[in-house]
Symmetry: C2
Subunit: 466 residues, 2 copies
């Protein structure tokens, strides 16, 4: 059987185990939080005022009172989800999976009146498809060729999730995947700019659009993924296109969401900074290190890391998220990085500027055989002549380590950027019991009842549309 059809049949019929749904529910909770935090960021605002303002529909743009078509709501929510680079990671697809999947399931779930369990199953179907592609394509696709998997692979995941919720049959899902494969894009060169969150939004938007077009009768190639001029060939997959059929055979027999899992971010910066930050914060705490004590900070990581942290001297908050020197300096000066850390005044702080040149980052190829972005070694050289050192294997938010308290604390801090404290608590309650809700709209409605002072009401925007 052709790989594309095999994948389509999995999407249509997948029956995820309960443990997988729990993982998906965690991802949904975390992602709704970061959407609510990101809604007021510049990239999200420009998207709402430029694109979404011209859209009709009843799908909710979370953290605002704005409504739009399913595809445009998915666009807006996707940009907000990734605006802080605080959303989760998958080390198999090498994508931020949820910033495209969650906007897709929320929008497709709203237009179909889907239940909480249906959106979780759709999330899992999309997540597994992304991992199946990632196993075949990565690391060359991401690491050497420079595709931003969040979008290039995420478009297929978002399309799969939307197709599942729209109840498409397998042939229509083949067309959905074919449309989505031709819309997949996103360049790593745009990391540290507003285009990075746009990648997530476009993946979500194009995924929803692909499923809706296929439902309306739009026709694509039947071998869009593995044909000789298809997605894997164009995107320069690590393995030959024929490997996809083998990878697809595993779908449904094991679950990547359980095996490799989803890494939740506890710092709003590139995932590559997290193991070094854990190590550095540990050293700072144990040795009581202050900024003035430091002669140098030397970070070693795997060879993927320097291709991600491309802004050694950041000039914007978005660049600062992709800067090992800034993140390390900020951890020393301000402690645990939060959303407040990535602001212009923090970048300009003289203590930070003094520390930036003292931080080095180098690749250690000995770390490459381990999981990507898991190994780090941090050495702090102190002015008094001492040298202290710590090794990290993964980060605190990595699969199986995250605590319920950490998730709740992060959610509330994020959600309160758009909602009142009470509404944020209510949303958290709904999210904790999402599998039992009969309609996802309970959640989206709650996340759109924003107070004028706190949320992003955009009165002028709404007036213009009505």
């Amino acid at each position: 059987m052709r790989a594309t059809l095999k994948i389509a049949e999995f999407i249509m019929a997948a029956k995820p185990p309960a443990a997988a749904r729990q993982r998906a529910a965690t991802a949904l909770c975390d992602t709704v939080g970061v959407i609510l935090a990101g809604a007021s960021e510049a990239a999200a605002k420009i998207i709402r005022r430029t694109v979404v303002a011209e859209s009709h529909g009843n799908c909710r743009v979370l953290g605002t009172a704005v409504r739009a078509s399913a595809a445009d709501a998915a666009l807006a929510n996707g940009v907000a989800a990734h605006a802080h680079d605080y959303d989760d990671m998958c080390f198999v697809s090498m994508a931020h999976p949820s910033c495209a999947l969650v906007p897709s399931i929320v929008a497709a779930g709203e237009i179909t009146g889907a239940s909480g369990s249906a959106v979780l199953d759709a999330y899992i179907a999309g997540f597994e498809v992304e991992c199946c592609l990632g196993l075949v394509m990565n690391p060359r696709h991401y690491h050497e060729r420079g595709w931003h998997c969040t979008s290039s692979i995420g478009t297929l995941g978002a399309a799969a999730a939307a197709a599942r919720l729209l109840g498409l049959d397998a042939p229509s899902i083949v067309h959905t995947l074919g449309i989505a494969a031709s819309l997949a894009c996103g360049l790593k060169e745009n990391m540290g700019s507003m285009v990075k969150p746009l990648h997530a939004g476009m993946a979500a938007r194009n995924g929803v659009m692909a499923a809706r077009l296929a439902k309306a009768g739009f026709i694509a190639s039947e071998q869009s993924l593995d044909g000789p001029q298809g997605y894997l060939a164009a995107m320069d997959s690590q393995k030959p296109p024929s490997a996809l059929a083998d990878a697809a055979t595993d779908l449904g027999s094991r679950w990547e969401i359980l095996d490799s899992g989803i890494a939740v971010k506890l710092y709003p910066s590139c995932a590559a900074t997290h193991p070094p930050l854990d190590a550095l914060l540990g050293l700072k705490r144990r040795h009581n290190i202050a900024a003035d004590d430091i002669a140098g900070i030397d970070v070693e990581a795997d060879s993927m890391t320097p291709r991600l942290l491309i802004h050694p001297r950041p000039s914007t908050p978005l660049e600062a998220k992709f800067s090992m020197p800034f993140c390390a300096a900020a951890a020393i000066v301000f402690g645990h990085p939060t959303l407040e850390t990535f602001h212009m005044e923090k970048i300009g702080d003289p203590r930070i500027q003094k520390l930036l040149p003292l931080v080095t980052l180098r690749a250690n190829r000995d770390f490459d055989p381990a999981a990507h972005l898991s190994q780090a070694n941090v050495t702090v050289r102190l002015k008094d002549g001492r040298t202290v050192q710590e090794r990290a294997d993964g980060a605190r938010g990595y699969p199986g380590r995250l605590t319920d308290d950490e998730l709740s604390t992060k959610f509330l801090a994020c959600a309160e950027r758009s909602l009142t404290h009470t509404a944020a608590l209510q949303a958290l309650d709904v999210l904790r019991a999402i599998e039992t809700r009969s309609d996802i709209s309970d959640l989206t409605q709650l996340c759109s009842t924003v107070s004028e002072s706190q949320g992003v009401l955009e009165r002028d925007f709404i007036e213009r549309k009505s």
Copy 2:
């Protein structure tokens, strides 16, 4: 100077010569025609009813009474432009240039109230940018890697044209190109399906969106095109990214629209079928060949052709456009291929089905050093033992060969699929004098005044929106 900035400065300041504007005016005329012909095709209808129905705005969807946002009107017009595969070709960008450029300049021209000469200059800026990229990237990008340049390169052209009409400064055009570079996509595997015209629509849509986002302050990388993880690297350019700066140096000193030109299609099938069709129709006429006389038709072409004509036994009209056997058989049975040739009943015609297995296509690498899709050799073996043969070098619609009469005849046959004969003649008059019109809306208004019987009014669609 960085390549991206150099290109941006060209887009902002390009002053095309009069001869270039004439070529652009021909392309505009031809493309408005094929949009009016394509508006009633299935792919265009699904796009209007699925995506454009959810859009607000005053930009016209040609051949219909529908209006939408600039980006969504560009999407709809782009899909219509490419729906018949009857729109023009460029052998340097290896794109169908106008199916993305014209919808972009029409939409951006409408929202800015641009003059005819301003939209022609924007067209040329976009066209030259596409050629500049094509010179660096092709043929590997298109031929070996399987990217559909109409979209993968066309997105950048459409963005350039829109940015020019929006009057952006060079730094904002750099951001426009950076956004567009991250949205560029489109797989050749989808040739012969509805996704192929969608590629044109998405290129136009994303180009317009990129320019509008940049105007609103959206930020991208400053080296999106030639950075180490940028567009050229991801898309597997033929030459190294550093070659772009050299290619960009030529911009404005010579004009590819004059040097290599634009090939207008006189048959609504893949451009690779045109030289063989010219040769075969010549043989048929001179030797008075009927279907029953034929023992075999052997077509030789360059090695790119078999990777384009991927449907030897087509089952749909769209596949038939990418089928050398079908096109050859149809030329014998029905004569000069027209829009009417590519219908299901023609594919099922017993005379066609009998001829299909008698047609062979093979690559002759001796043809490769010449211009792509220019060389063909057609041998017809007759049942009476005779063998006749004809060689083609290019096709009738190729640059410098097209006559005014051929252009007008094609335009009217296309336009009358949406407009009355009188309106089509009026539109042709406006297009012939486009350089003197003070507002492009003269044209778009005329192309949207459709009669209920003839045009695509979509009453239900409009009622739903109001």
